[in-house]
Symmetry: C2
Subunit: 340 residues, 2 copies
């Protein structure tokens, strides 16, 4: 079984964007606008169409089986509006993911967007997390380390304000993938420098924090191959050592996992060479940041399965861990979902 | 000849820190404090001691010949105080670099800190650049892409406010190394996530900008192995392609160079494998971010010459470019300095 742990619903019917534009229009008139959840008025057929012609088609073409699926990350837009904006928007987006996974239970497993907002305690996201996990069978969530969209004005993931959320994640056996949303800061390109910088930043925040001492069972996925971390593994090892902290392999790697969203062979080879196979989860993030075909290879940049297949150093056992075993280990609720 | 293109004077005598503390104390009383340049009262012997026992000793031990040397990057602190603060501080720091390079002309070549400040046009740094290059023989400068220390509140390097400075750099045949300073934002670790994130961000800003179309002779060095760029080369290639922009090899790599401050063998191997040898300059940034010895290799993490020596794919001609030839190409004023 080949499980892609990182896919977003980037191909939603147009009503989703219209709903969001209505939210923004109301906020333009009144930044404190509350509004209501409302209704997207999307039919099952519209959802089916949007998935069958896109993600499901690519699953079949690429030979993957199951995508762990969450709302479009760049649209989470936690910096937009207020906590009510994020709450209703997240509820709608998570409901849609639930519908996709109900329509295609063999192909998608649901992961939630959290209704975070700048200056609002992460604890406030717990009710939506509970609704998704307990009422709709979600198996994970995405956690934004910068709700301010590239200004980094909120607390670090090391901060105690995240602890009630971490406690709930552990209790629910639900991992968090660290994932920023669109940058509203012109210094950053959303799916390039912002995503990669945030991955590195989150990794750095966590490895030098007490988070994993305080939550030894917390499981965190750093996407996009861990940002810059594997490439600069020597720097991070050295920084830990200079501070008298335990080596990464004996500390952070008990809790941190990397996905394989690295879009070329030699990058994937480095990731597989540096990070233990036990800490790597297969992912492509299709249909996502990079949509073209690499003229050098003749294949989609984000067809990451090919790179893992082509790597010459992995053993069969390691490959199975990366494609399947680690996903079951990290997503504690996945087994029940796949083998009910 | 082995030229290390990236070294900072991190071992200054204590008067330097005292000067800075006095600036901060005056600013605490009055944020608009102007003050004056003043005097550091450091003797030549004190400078000699601070260099001979540190950078010069390591040059000899590691077998490198010349370090392109600039003020301590993490101490640039452009976010501190106002434009007068940065001006006097930069002048003092650059004067010190000049003294080091005058005392040890065979071992060090000078690169300037610019007196940038948040909200102040980069153009205002030109007088200090001219002073350093024309009066003191400097051959390069460090350019901070985020004077706000991790809040990214100033303009992107793509912004036209940088153009007068770029114009002057081209005219002077002086390259800029992109280098942030200490983070004053708790979300970031200065020499880890902030440095690496800024490298990636600067790369991203430049490759999608008009800067190199408008300044075809501008030369930019992205340090720390280019941040996350080489590891995610496929992502960046794909993002360029999706936007209809020219491939990196035919566009940005005519102007952008990477240094080799990557502190483990496999990271360096990736860099050398991905980036053409014409675009790589040897560097260690010693004595800098990581000061320990890697227990896996038995050598200093930042002894990057060993990694380049140990790489099995480089040809001799490529190795000479990386160690020497490219430095002369990028630093247009270096040849005159070395062979006056």
């Amino acid at each position: 079984m080949i499980i892609d742990c990182h896919g977003h619903y980037t191909t939603t019917p147009p009503q989703v964007g219209e709903y969001r534009e209505q939210q923004k229009a109301a906020l333009a008139k009144d930044p404190d606008h509350i509004g209501e959840k409302g209704n997207l008025n999307i039919s099952d057929d519209e959802i089916r169409d949007s998935i069958e012609t896109n993600q499901l088609r690519l699953q079949r073409e690429r030979g993957t089986d199951l995508t762990i699926f969450s709302p479009r990350a760049s649209w989470m837009g936690h910096h937009i509006g207020n906590q009510h904006t994020s709450r209703f928007w997240s509820e709608q987006q998570n409901d849609l993911i639930h519908r996709v996974c109900t329509l295609f239970p063999d192909n998608f497993a649901p992961v939630a967007q959290l209704p975070q907002s700048p200056g609002v305690s992460p604890e406030k996201s717990i009710p939506e997390l509970l609704r998704c996990v307990e009422e709709m069978g979600f198996i994970g969530c995405n956690l934004n380390p910068d709700t301010t969209g590239g200004y980094w004005k909120d607390a670090s993931l090391a901060d105690k304000t995240f602890y009630p959320l971490y406690e709930k994640l552990v209790e629910l056996e639900v991992p968090a993938m660290i994932h920023v949303s669109a940058a509203c800061n012109d210094c950053f390109h959303t799916t390039g420098s912002h995503y990669l910088g945030a991955d590195t930043t989150a990794f750095q925040q966590l490895i030098m924090s007490d988070v994993f001492k305080d939550f030894p069972d917390l499981k965190i996925i750093i996407p996009h191959g861990g940002g810059a971390a594997p490439y600069h593994w020597g720097r991070f090892r050295g920084l830990m050592q200079d501070r008298g902290l335990a080596p990464l392999e004996q500390s952070a790697l008990k809790n941190i996992y990397f996905d394989t969203c690295v879009y070329h062979q030699r990058g994937i080879d480095l990731l597989l060479d540096i990070i233990p196979a036990d800490n790597i989860l297969f992912a492509s993030e299709m249909i996502g940041a990079v949509r073209g075909i690499d003229p050098e290879s003749g294949h989609y940049y984000d067809d990451t399965k090919r790179y893992i297949d082509a790597n010459t150093k992995l053993t069969d056992a390691e490959r199975i861990k990366i494609f399947e075993g680690n996903a079951f280990k990290v997503f504690g609720r996945l087994k029940q979902k796949v083998y009910p």
